[in-house]
């Protein structure tokens, strides 16, 4: 059979897993500058599922779509190095302040403008929000079925897709029709590393904005090698209605942000000495806390 057309949705996120003490500014806002920007981990799991389908069904084309600032082109290159075929950066000031609903609307309009596809695959959730909402909301906006928490996409042929899902207390195998939106769990296999050949091939893949910083004789290679063009698309190019974008298109508003202050307890400091631990265990036993 012919290959599949797959769009992988990915997000560049601040690495909130390794938040240091300097991550917060004195005024309580987040100091984004000190947090490294990374490929959202579960989106890498999603990319791997797409790459496995490409291995299984030759002729498959994987397009990476990300929405974010210019810098997010980094994760498109990262995906190209690992085996994606091309990428789109959806970027526009009009998207600033989008909640999950406005984000899903923009992504769904971008998917429509990219063209028909068989599968849309993304990570279950992004580590900077943990909402797990964008996948299902994109599915709803496109009027497609969704299959969440995928651990393995078993087959995608004859207009059917079979997926093994990982739930809290077990697994489920479901069959749906193509096209569909699939969200992938972190329990799915890790993404393969960069391929050396592809890394060489796509090292200079750039968006039009990034290319503006290059000298003229360099620009010529983008005409000779069109695959180095990372397509940059704006709200106007996807025919998005501005009332559904950004802050205006976001029903949820942040009313208040507070630093967390814990009710400090009066605590007793102990050491690891035999005497201290002996005392502690006696105390816990006498109080009937344990035993």
């Amino acid at each position: 059979m012919a290959g599949l057309r797959i769009i992988v949705l990915a997000k560049q996120v601040p690495d909130t897993r390794n938040v240091g003490k300097d991550a917060m500014k004195a005024d309580g806002t987040v100091n984004r500058a000190v947090l490294p920007a990374i490929f959202n981990p579960e989106d890498l799991n999603a990319l791997e599922q797409a790459l496995r389908l490409k291995d299984k069904y030759p002729g498959t084309i994987i397009t990476l779509l990300t929405m974010g600032p210019g810098r997010a082109a980094e994760i498109i290159r990262e995906a190209l190095y690992r085996g994606a075929d091309n990428g789109y950066l959806l970027t526009d000031r009009a998207f600033a302040g989008s909640d999950t609903l406005a984000t899903s609307y923009a992504l769904s309009m971008a998917i429509k403008s990219i063209g028909t596809c068989d599968l849309i695959i993304c990570g279950r959730q992004a580590i900077d929000g943990d909402t797990a909402q964008v996948g299902p909301q994109v599915a709803e906006k496109l009027n497609l079925a969704q299959i969440t928490y995928a651990e393995e996409i078993l087959h995608a042929e004859n207009k059917k897709v079979t997926v093994k899902r990982r739930l809290d207390r077990g697994i489920e195998v479901v069959e749906g029709s193509i096209p569909a939106v699939i969200t992938v769990n972190s329990s799915a296999p890790e993404c393969r590393p960069r391929n050396a050949k592809l890394t060489m091939k796509f090292k200079h893949a750039k968006t039009i904005t990034e290319r503006q910083e290059l000298t003229d004789d360099y620009i010529a290679i983008y005409n000779i090698r069109p695959y180095l063009n990372i397509k940059e698309i704006s709200a106007a190019e996807i025919n998005a209605d501005s009332k559904w974008l950004g802050l205006t298109g976001s029903p949820t508003k942040v009313k208040k942000i507070e630093n967390v202050v814990f009710q400090a307890k009066e605590s007793k400091a102990l050491t690891a000495s035999d005497m201290d631990i002996d005392w502690l265990m006696k105390d816990l036993i006498i109080n009937h806390t344990i035993g």
Partner: protein, 339 residues
């Protein structure tokens, strides 16, 4: 109209704890707003299910009972809810932040163009003044949750869109019977009026569910390990102590992400919320999301090498030391003192 709705999860006729917890919270919110509390149950063979829900304060219970509705699949459940909400226009809709609620909620909120806040740790009613638009809102749902890696607590509101939707993890809210004699009205839903064959396009062809092997939520003593435990092998030290003193082993998200412990042991905002008699935190620094899931423990012992670890602030006892040294000593002196 304009009531509070709770989507109740049901499996084999039994309503999930998280749904009863949400009804308990929903009852209080309904009293604040002087509106009614409505429950929605979608599943198979639901005869008598209302008797599980009335004591928790539900006034109206919508029941969709059909063999095709269990096990859960997205489209039938979401389309039933979407259409019911279009008719009933709830002001608030709550569901569990479970695999089902997190699959269903976003789909429903997208179709209704309403806002949804995931994994709330607190819900309350309050007002809001939009100075820019010069508008004053009353009786909004405050959806409160840690954000941005847990460094901050955010209060989210949906001023203009309805329903105001939120998901809450199991164990975050308390489950309390409102009144054993409370009764209300049952409204069966005509499934065929709401759904078509196209809604059943995704089929479950295989299913293996097991009862959770760990029962962290119900354990009076919990020994939890964080990233500071250092390795999966070191985590065995926690299990050793747990065996001796009759405790359950939990873990922080960082420890689960690092592969030291299984996901079903995760405590915190994106895991389980616990309220044990004794909580022993080993090598846990105490990010807000973790503390959100254990701060109501009656007694906390923190064992770590970092005198500035945030968890120390809420600890009753702080042991400054290495867990590889401290835990075996705890076993030794527990045995010695209980002989």
């Amino acid at each position: 109209m304009n009531n509070i709705f709770v989507y109740c999860e049901v499996e084999n006729g039994v309503v999930a704890d998280v749904s009863l917890e949400l009804l308990t919270k929903g009852r209080k919110l309904a009293n604040d707003l002087k509106c009614q509390l409505e429950a929605v149950v979608i599943g198979n063979q639901l005869n008598g299910v209302e008797n599980q829900l009335f004591p928790f304060g539900a006034d109206i219970i919508h029941i969709a009972d059909d063999a095709r509705l269990e096990p859960y699949t997205t489209l039938p459940h979401s389309n039933l809810l979407i259409k019911l909400f279009e008719e009933e226009k709830p002001q608030i809709a709550l569901m569990g932040a479970t695999p089902i609620g997190r699959d269903l909620g976003p789909r429903v909120s997208s179709a209704l163009l309403s806002g949804l806040t995931a994994d709330c740790t607190e819900l309350a009613i309050g007002g809001h003044e939009d100075k820019k638009e010069n508008k004053v809102y009353e009786n909004l749902l405050y959806q409160i949750r840690p954000a941005f890696g847990g460094n901050i607590i955010a209060t989210i509101i949906n001023p203009d869109n309805r329903p105001q939707m939120a998901t809450v993890r199991e164990g975050v809210m308390r489950k309390e019977v409102f009144s054993i004699t409370h009764k209300g009205e049952v409204k069966p839903m005509d499934v065929n009026k709401y759904l078509t064959d196209a809604d059943f396009v995704v089929k479950v062809i295989e299913r293996h569910m097991e009862k959770s092997k760990v029962n962290i939520k119900g354990s009076p003593i919990i020994i939890a390990g964080g990233y500071g435990v250092g390795s999966k092998a070191n985590f065995e030290l926690l299990f050793d102590l747990a065996k001796v003193i009759g405790a359950e082993v939990g873990a922080s998200r960082a420890a689960v992400d690092a592969g030291y412990a299984d996901h079903d042991r995760q405590i915190g905002q994106t895991g389980v919320t616990v309220r044990p008699k004794l909580y022993i935190a080993c090598g846990i620094s105490g990010q807000i999301q973790h503390i959100a899931g254990m701060q109501e423990s009656a007694m906390v012992i923190a064992i770590n090498n970092d005198p500035n670890a945030p968890i120390n602030k809420i600890a009753d006892y702080i042991i400054n030391g290495d867990i590889a040294e401290v835990l075996p000593k705890m076993i030794k002196y527990y045995k010695q003192n209980t002989k």
